[in-house]
Point group: C2
Chain length 460, copies 2
């Protein structure tokens, strides 16, 4: 194989690192719906959120107008440790698929946390530090977000308390140890440390925990410990804002070689990667400057966009968080136990939910055995061992490339490769041993979950 003019990896220089995040909300005609107080149904304002979130992050959360928000120098300095991340031309995958399509992927796994989560972790930790706080609390499931936050806190000398879903804490001791290496305290959730944890343990003594429950505990810990605030790795507007660095770099790298994508693909759990990757492209689309097909890929076992309801729902199981309007499967929804990867959150970021509702994004749900087939093929030809989450995007990108093979179209496909799968080998092992199955929730199961959606005072 010989390489054309476009290099295998397009690296931007440190000078080309974006100077500002791009806030896609500024260009949205229909803004994402505000967070609501679950008791009163009133929109949550700056003062309502101060007990839980850092001040500057609340400002970013509520700011639907400012298009460009400068990235502080200290965050840019940290970004330089692993950014700009490479945009890779998937020459080997193209050859393997024998497709006329040109495939690119933005690789966010080239940092120790192993995923894009670090982009927002450092920003959130920085604003907490600048506010003079002692530390932050958070939850983690598979552990990518907890790892990223631990790294960021270690760098800034900030305390970091992670509530880790108990089943992951026990079954993924390596992730736990990475967080401990970075100095974080890691508590299996539900724990006896919080009221909500004790309540859940009393009601369900044998529970192995859930993400929604760990969120409730982390929020409670932040509210009750002076000098602490809660931080979250996805879903929120502020997180998508920080993750816009992915899309801005991608666009800058493509522009450098005059490449215009036809399709942009990302996996979608809470929406942090997809929201960040597409942001500048979506901006052009919203401003009517250029059109792109944008494709969200979700697991068939947790299909919030393709089968969820667009409604106000709780962000957590303990129902202590504000209500967010989003595509949701219901805050009590838990994917089947045989679901291997992440992307298991019951709802989708309000920004992406609104864009999807407005027809600006497409969505597709894929089954996990097909996802791991794509992951393995990708690993063998492209040499990167992908995280199961990221492999949802690989699957969809391959499917689009194979369609091009049929039609002969030379489309340009860009997808987000959010992270590496080093800590997911148990899932790969299941796949190798033929022990992986697909489970798709039935309509009845989803309906039962929808029936528990909250009644919002003043809304109907």
């Amino acid at each position: 194989m010989t390489f054309e003019k476009i290099p295998y990896k397009i690296y931007l220089s440190e000078q080309e690192l974006p100077a500002a995040w791009y806030n896609v909300r500024a260009d949205m005609k229909h803004k994402p719906a505000p967070l609501l107080n679950p008791g009163t149904g009133a929109p949550m304002g700056f003062e309502d959120l101060r007990g839980v979130f850092c001040d500057e992050l609340i400002r970013q959360e509520l700011d639907n107008d400012t298009a460009e928000i400068p990235i502080p120098r200290e965050i840019r300095d940290f970004y330089k440790m692993y950014r700009p991340s490479p945009l890779v031309r998937a020459y080997c995958l193209e050859e393997k698929l024998q497709t006329p399509a040109n495939i690119y992927y933005k690789f966010e796994g080239n940092n120790t946390s192993g995923s894009h989560k670090l982009n927002s972790a450092i920003a959130q930790a920085y604003y907490a530090k600048r506010q003079g706080l002692l530390g932050v609390t958070t939850e983690t499931g598979a552990g990518q977000w907890g790892t990223a936050l631990s790294m960021a806190c270690a760098y800034l000398g900030l305390d970091c308390k992670v509530y880790m879903v108990k089943v992951s804490y026990e079954q993924k001791p390596f992730r736990r140890e990475v967080m401990r290496t970075y100095g974080a305290s890691v508590t299996p959730s539900p724990s006896m440390e919080t009221e909500i944890g004790r309540k859940i343990l009393q009601e369900h003594p044998g529970t192995t925990g859930s993400l929604g429950c760990a969120i409730s505990e982390a929020v409670e810990a932040a509210a009750k410990n002076p000098g602490y605030r809660y931080v979250l790795g996805s879903v929120l507007n502020q997180v998508l804002l920080h993750q816009s660095v992915i899309g801005l770099e991608t666009k800058a790298a493509l522009d450098k070689y005059g490449v215009v994508p036809d399709i942009i693909i990302g996996c979608a759990g809470g929406g942090s990667n997809l929201g960040g990757l597409i942001s500048p492209f979506m901006g052009e689309k919203l401003r009517g400057e250029r059109d792109y097909r944008i494709l969200a890929v979700e697991p068939a076992s947790c299909p919030s966009l393709t089968r969820g309801k667009f409604a106000y729902d709780f962000c957590d199981t303990g129902m202590v968080c504000p209500l967010a309007k989003m595509y949701t499967l219901g805050s009590g929804f838990i994917p089947s136990a045989n679901h291997a990867g992440g992307l298991r959150y019951h709802g989708m970021s309000p920004v992406l939910s609104q864009l999807y509702h407005d027809g600006l994004i497409e969505a597709v749900a894929v089954e996990q055995t097909k996802v791991f087939e794509a992951a393995e093929l990708f690993a063998r030809v492209e040499g990167i061992l992908p995280a199961p989450e990221s492999s949802h995007a690989i699957r969809a990108a391959m499917d689009e490339a194979l369609k091009c093979k049929e039609t002969g179209e030379k489309k340009t496909i860009v997808f987000g490769l959010t992270g590496t799968g080093y800590f997911d080998m148990t899932a790969y092992e299941k796949f190798h041993n033929g022990e992986m199955s697909d489970y798709i929730p039935t309509d009845e199961e989803l309906q039962a979950s929808f029936n528990k959606l909250p009644q919002v005072p003043g809304l109907d």
Copy 2:
């Protein structure tokens, strides 16, 4: 912190990828001693080695004269998937240590195999493929080499049989699954598949295996399976040749900014990384053009350079391999069970052994708790989770930087960061739990091992 003119990461372009490997033997006045036939004491020539090694690799193994050996285009194309690798200025570490020294590290962990081993794996697999072979056999301990070789073979469509030390096979199932993801067959060693394996199992029914024993099995499997050859990830001259790409890139990146190192540091097990990293610098030193301090860092629990004998010894436990003249602890030497990382081979590459013998390299042995302290500090400030092996070099680099702090000298220190520690979290866990101890072999233990060094016919 603000960054000076030198960027945090120096990336070379793909055009700057070296076009040829550099063979340091061409500039050595005292060449490394030849491999000997253990039965006759005669030097092994091309024909003697053909049953076990690929033809082209034997030529490279025996070539002590050609300084530049072109890198075939196909290998360069593969290298482009992850090379040139970054040379990182350790600004954060310098600040943390408050040292006037300038510290750089060449990071070889930015590929899925997680280490520099891939540089030689792709070369060896390529020559095997070009010779029309069906596959290759090898051994792996911790699994870095086996992973690298599996990746390379998957890329080229070559079969890959890995004999994995049984204790690692059972205790490191994730590494095993990565290799399976890349399509390799992985057999716990000793196995019933080979004569030597059966013999060892009969003599030591409960054995958990050793690297030397896995080498014997892999060599036997190559010799007995038509279309197969044996490949090795370290020690051999050919491996150091391939790894020269590390040093060539490092030198090119430093030259670009007019930086001349005072000290070059690498961890040393079999010597593949250190040999590669130092090669062009050693070339200048051998040719009298410039002087550098070069420092090999080894574990105090497996101190082949600092406490070994410079003598002919077997490369494997089964004594089926040729004899190599090297610093060795004896082919039966096995590091204490509480030794956590790699770097556990009993001997050192003949090239490095000769250079050390000639006073061109210094060596230091470090204890593992000190190594993990350095690893954790490095992870927290530089954001990369280092492999235990690589952390030996970090330890020594930090010690040198701290000496500069005392003396006020602004030395330039370059070290090799060979890989990432994602699969070594069990060792980190031990360290966090205070369960890690240091064991240094006694003089009596080493003497007992030296007493079993082979008597070579015709040599005394």
